[in-house]
């Protein structure tokens, strides 16, 4: 009997001692942190992809709480929903942003831009870019080593073995922008996803003169400017022999698509037209 009492007493004393120590240590070394940081972090996706420009979701949560300003802060993975929830925690209003998606602006598939050399070596676009212009000879085109694929934390991009080009999986892409940074040639761009995923873009970033570009690739933008003239919304600009469609201004009228002589302008997720469809090379998953 006495053993039980003694042991209880002894353990109780030890427990009390530790509790006191912990209590004081906790008071002394307390880190004061805004409780909203935890709350915000909780609603974030937790992918730690860095797409927001901050080191992980915690860093982003801290930034939100610190600034309280949503105009420059956006979680591309969580999108508007997360922004709204975070705004509720912070007690501010937030404007909705159009969802975006990564777009590969090169259509230099094996068929459109035949290989003139075979690349052997480290499967790294960054290195191949240092080494030479590319298997097709186009110094702007996709190198096909898949740096974008390995950079994607969401498995949203893969190399199509038939074309040698990366393909973005629409449902999985969170527009975090990792592939945009990974591509040494800046081929991938984040563009508005568009209503029902409909979007139109120039699938080429070649700034060479038309004839030179055309030599390497059948679907290169030759900078003829026809699309600029035909566009009723002034959404298309031409510089350095290259047309660019501003996705904020584009109204998806598709006039430029049929005007383009090389088929460099792609339309995605539109119902098929009755007449000719030029973008047969298009592969979407």
């Amino acid at each position: 009997m006495s053993i039980i009492i003694y042991s209880l007493l002894a353990l109780g004393c030890v427990a009390l001692l530790f509790a006191t120590v912990i209590f004081f240590v906790d008071k002394k070394f307390k880190v004061v942190e805004d409780p909203r940081i935890d709350k915000v972090q909780e609603i974030l996706p937790g992918a730690n992809c860095g797409g927001c420009g901050y080191p992980g979701c915690r860093g982003f949560a801290e930034a939100i709480v610190k600034t309280g300003d949503f105009s420059a802060l956006f979680c591309p993975v969580g999108g508007n929903e997360v922004a709204k929830k975070a705004a509720v925690i912070m007690g501010v209003e937030v404007k909705e942003k159009a969802p975006r998606i990564a777009v590969v602006r090169c259509n230099g598939s094996y068929q459109n831009a035949p290989q003139k050399a075979r690349y052997e070596g480290a499967s790294s676009c960054a290195f191949a870019h240092m080494l030479f212009a590319g298997e097709s000879g186009c110094p702007y085109g996709c190198l096909g080593c898949g740096d974008c694929v390995s950079s994607c934390t969401f498995d949203a991009i893969f190399m199509n073995p038939e074309t040698g080009l990366p393909v973005v999986i629409e449902d999985k892409c969170t527009s975090c922008g990792a592939c945009v940074k990974a591509c040494p040639r800046g081929i991938i761009e984040l563009r508005n996803k568009g209503p029902k995923g409909k979007r139109i873009f120039v699938s080429c970033i070649n700034k060479e003169k038309g004839a030179v570009a055309r030599k390497n690739c059948a679907v290169a933008c030759i900078g003829c400017g026809k699309c600029v003239k035909v566009c009723p919304h002034e959404a298309i600009t031409l510089s350095d022999n290259l047309a660019y469609i501003d996705y904020e201004k584009c109204k998806l009228c598709r006039k430029c698509v049929s005007e383009c002589p090389t088929g460099a302008i792609l339309e995605i997720n539109f119902p098929p037209r009755k007449t000719d469809v030029k973008n047969t090379n298009e592969v979407e998953a």
Partner: protein, 444 residues
């Protein structure tokens, strides 16, 4: 011949394959068109001073090196500038190139074309350096560093040795070897000119032991020249690398990230010495060079080629067939660049054109790294390619920098020796590139 020397750290022993070492240098005919890229040397591209339609003579200045590290470029033929446009060159990209349609050869005035050897050096030190600069001389070993920059010793530094690099440690290449045999006297005079330019009284010519005839020939000739010594070297790659050669010849170690002048040495290639001789004594600009054409199943030879000649012309002249050729290399097999097409012109840095079939030159199967450590033992700079490759693979540039990726001389010994066939040098090059970018952005 005195005892053979070599460098202690690392190195590999590739088959030397010097098939063309007994073939005399033959001049090849001038092609219908030459393609002269404006960036042929290390540093900033030269600025063209001719326009479309201009008539140029052989040896006329057509592009000026305006930046500090840049070099002049002269027309290698007589003719009319057809156009100035982007043309594929050894970099694998298209870059600005002066294209000249040739006419019968007429040389610029003041160039001494006689074969008579002019021994007396009349110019002063400053005049020599200016002449080297004017005549567009660059390092002909392959790195194409402008020679006038190299021989201008910075303030506060003193050179003690001039080292002439006749090592030619790259397999297959024999252009320096032939030059030493056929133009030995000129090389020695060039060496004396360079000695005067950098103000030293000792010069050592390093030659690897697989060229006994060149060692003997130059040793005999050098007896007449004060201060010039010929030293035989053991066969080991990369002996011809600047830092390794200095270590082998005078046993001094260039500190990491520093230039050879730090230990009182200036290194020049034998080809450069010959070009310097021609520029200073004969007033001839650098418009042609010796190119070795070789490969694993072609006859090959050594040719005197005008700068800007498409390599297709060289291949045609040699009578080589391209049917079984899968890889064309500009330079040696260890450090040269693979070319995409035969339209690429010969430039100042083209020491050889190698034609390989796939079985010799294609990359081997890649296995997992088995941590055998062969790359570490092979690295002549004492680096750890195994770590550098991993660092570049995962994009850990800080780690790459910590492991001294910038010390890498890109000799390729690690990749050559790797039994797992891993693309070590590819990844290290990428690492170097990224770390350089990071360092540059830090300065800003």
């Amino acid at each position: 011949m005195n005892g053979l020397k070599t460098f202690p750290l690392g190195g590999v022993h590739p088959d030397d394959c010097k098939f063309t070492s007994q073939k005399s240098i033959v001049s090849i005919p001038i092609p219908e068109r030459v393609y002269i890229p404006v960036s042929q040397s290390l540093g900033a591209p030269s600025v063209p001073i001719v326009n479309k339609g201009d008539k140029v003579k052989t040896g006329q200045l057509i592009a000026k090196g305006e930046a500090f590290i840049s070099s002049n470029i002269h027309s290698s033929v007589t003719g009319e500038v057809e156009k100035i446009e982007d043309w594929i060159d050894t970099s694998g990209y298209k870059r600005k190139t002066i294209i000249i349609k040739t006419e019968p050869d007429v040389w610029e005035e003041g160039i001494d074309l006689s074969s008579e050897i002019k021994r007396e050096i009349t110019l002063s030190k400053e005049e020599i350096i200016q002449r080297i600069k004017d005549k567009g001389i660059v390092g002909l070993g392959g790195a194409t560093f402008p020679t006038h920059v190299k021989v201008s010793i910075p303030q506060g530094k003193k050179a003690e040795y001039l080292i002439i690099n006749g090592v030619e440690c790259e397999p297959y290449l024999t252009s320096d070897h032939r030059l030493m045999l056929e133009k030995g006297e000129e090389i020695l005079i060039g060496t004396q000119i360079l000695m005067k330019a950098i103000d030293v009284d000792q010069a050592i010519i390093g030659i690897e032991a697989n060229k006994p005839d060149a060692i003997e020939h130059l040793s005999k000739l050098a007896e007449k020249y004060k201060g010039i010594k010929v030293q035989g070297l053991k066969l080991k790659y990369p002996q011809g690398a600047e830092k390794q050669l200095i270590k082998a010849l005078v046993n001094r170690e260039v500190p990491s990230g520093k230039l050879p002048i730090e230990v009182g040495c200036v290194v020049q290639n034998v080809g450069t010495a010959f070009a310097v001789y021609e520029a200073v004594q004969k007033n001839k600009p650098l418009i042609n060079r010796v190119v070795t054409l070789s490969g694993n199943n072609i006859e090959g030879g050594n040719f005197m080629v005008r700068i800007g000649t498409p390599i297709q012309k060289l291949i045609d002249f040699c009578g080589a067939k391209l049917e079984n050729i899968d890889k064309i290399i500009n330079g040696g097999p260890m450090m040269g660049k693979a070319l995409v097409s035969t339209e690429v012109p010969v430039t100042k840095g083209t020491s050889g054109i190698l034609l390989f079939s796939a079985e010799v030159s294609s990359r081997m199967k890649v296995y997992n790294c088995v941590r055998c450590g062969k790359c570490v033992s092979a690295c002549p700079m004492g680096l750890e390619p195994i770590v550098l490759e991993k660092a570049a693979e995962v994009g850990n540039w800080d780690l790459a920098e910590k492991y001294h990726v910038l010390d890498c001389i890109e000799c390729g010994s690690c990749h050559y020796t790797c039994p797992a066939g891993r693309p070590l040098l590819d990844m290290i090059r990428l690492g170097k590139n990224k770390v350089n970018q990071i360092i540059r952005s830090r300065v800003k």
